[in-house]
Symmetry: C2
């Protein structure tokens, strides 16, 4: 009798009867986990169902395709970058912002997003472009803009620094070095980037 | 008789008996073509053999694996960036350098290289890291360094601008915008990048 009670309890723990939002979240989390381990090319609806301890039908009922599932998983998992740091110094604000971006980059949703960005062909990438732009690129640029504009108001930053190439400089460098140099962006790396790239780029010309 | 002579001639043209260097080059070109169309994941030794109009055995005899073949194809196909422009102005020199980088990026070997860079997992990427660093990244940085150092000697560029983040700024921005914004880097885009990013980053502080 002991054996059968144990078995029953284990079975209930391992695959509880989940419905609605709970099951949905488990499937979306499983999709992120698969993206960050086997990547876009390795992800299958079967693999996601197995990981979420549910059946393939439960996945297909909600998301007719791998593309639909991944778009929703990214939307649900991406961290929200909403509040700009405000330490009264553009250098400190940019450093703090970079630390947050690094945290997002090296989170599971961050790895998942990069696997989509890198592995998808042009037609598939089109499908996720809005998700990536709206969920990551735009919010990050919004915070960068805010920090740089506050630096201008304080007179720290030159008045003509507010342009798209300046705003893109940090995201571009962080993506490039993590991809090409396998940089993990230590605190020291972030400081070097701010001091060698952003400070000279933003400072007012001495007059 | 006319028919059979035509057939014989066509057959000889379509699959001549090639050996040594000629066949090798055809296989390497076929590998680059496959990489730039179906990507790293889509490339197969069979597909390369078919494209090069030879047998699978001819490919495997020279390259035991897909990794070996692709490493050699990249090495053979990558454009050589050797001579730094020298117009007497850092702005003009950087612009010309960017035009050359763009040409390389949007060439067949450029697309092939990016498919390897983006699609390979960490273990596979390791295999190509030396090829990409030695074949593209280092030569480009070498030319950037030369142009910027000449600008310093002329007094155009601030003396402390010679650092890794400054040298990486153009490659990082070109990679980021081509990937995230699908930029094709028109001449106007390149000029904007130089004028809004590099000129303020490099110029001497007015004293």
């Amino acid at each position: 009798m002991v054996t059968s009670r144990w078995t029953a309890a284990t079975a209930r723990t391992a695959s509880p009867r989940r419905r609605g939002a709970v099951l949905e979240r488990a499937i979306l989390e499983a999709a992120l986990e698969q993206l960050s381990t086997v990547g876009w090319n390795g992800l299958t609806m079967e693999g996601v169902a197995a990981r979420a301890q549910t059946g393939k039908a439960a996945v297909y009922r909600r998301w007719p395709s791998k593309e639909d599932l991944v778009a929703d998983a990214l939307k649900a998992g991406l961290p929200s970058l909403t509040e700009a740091p405000d330490f009264g110094s553009v250098r400190e604000d940019l450093l703090e912002l970079c630390r947050r971006v690094r945290e997002a980059m090296f989170s599971q949703p961050g790895f998942a997003l990069r696997s989509v960005l890198y592995e998808c062909d042009a037609a598939q990438a089109e499908r996720f472009h809005a998700v990536i732009l709206g969920g990551v690129v735009e919010p990050t640029l919004h915070l960068l803009r805010e920090v740089i504009h506050r630096g201008m108001e304080r007179g720290e930053v030159r008045p003509d620094a507010a342009n798209a190439y300046v705003f893109d400089a940090i995201p571009a460098m962080m993506m490039y070095r993590s991809k090409v140099c396998a940089s993990e962006w230590s605190d020291g790396d972030l400081e070097e980037m701010i001091d060698q790239l952003m400070v000279p780029l933003l400072r007012r010309e001495a007059v």
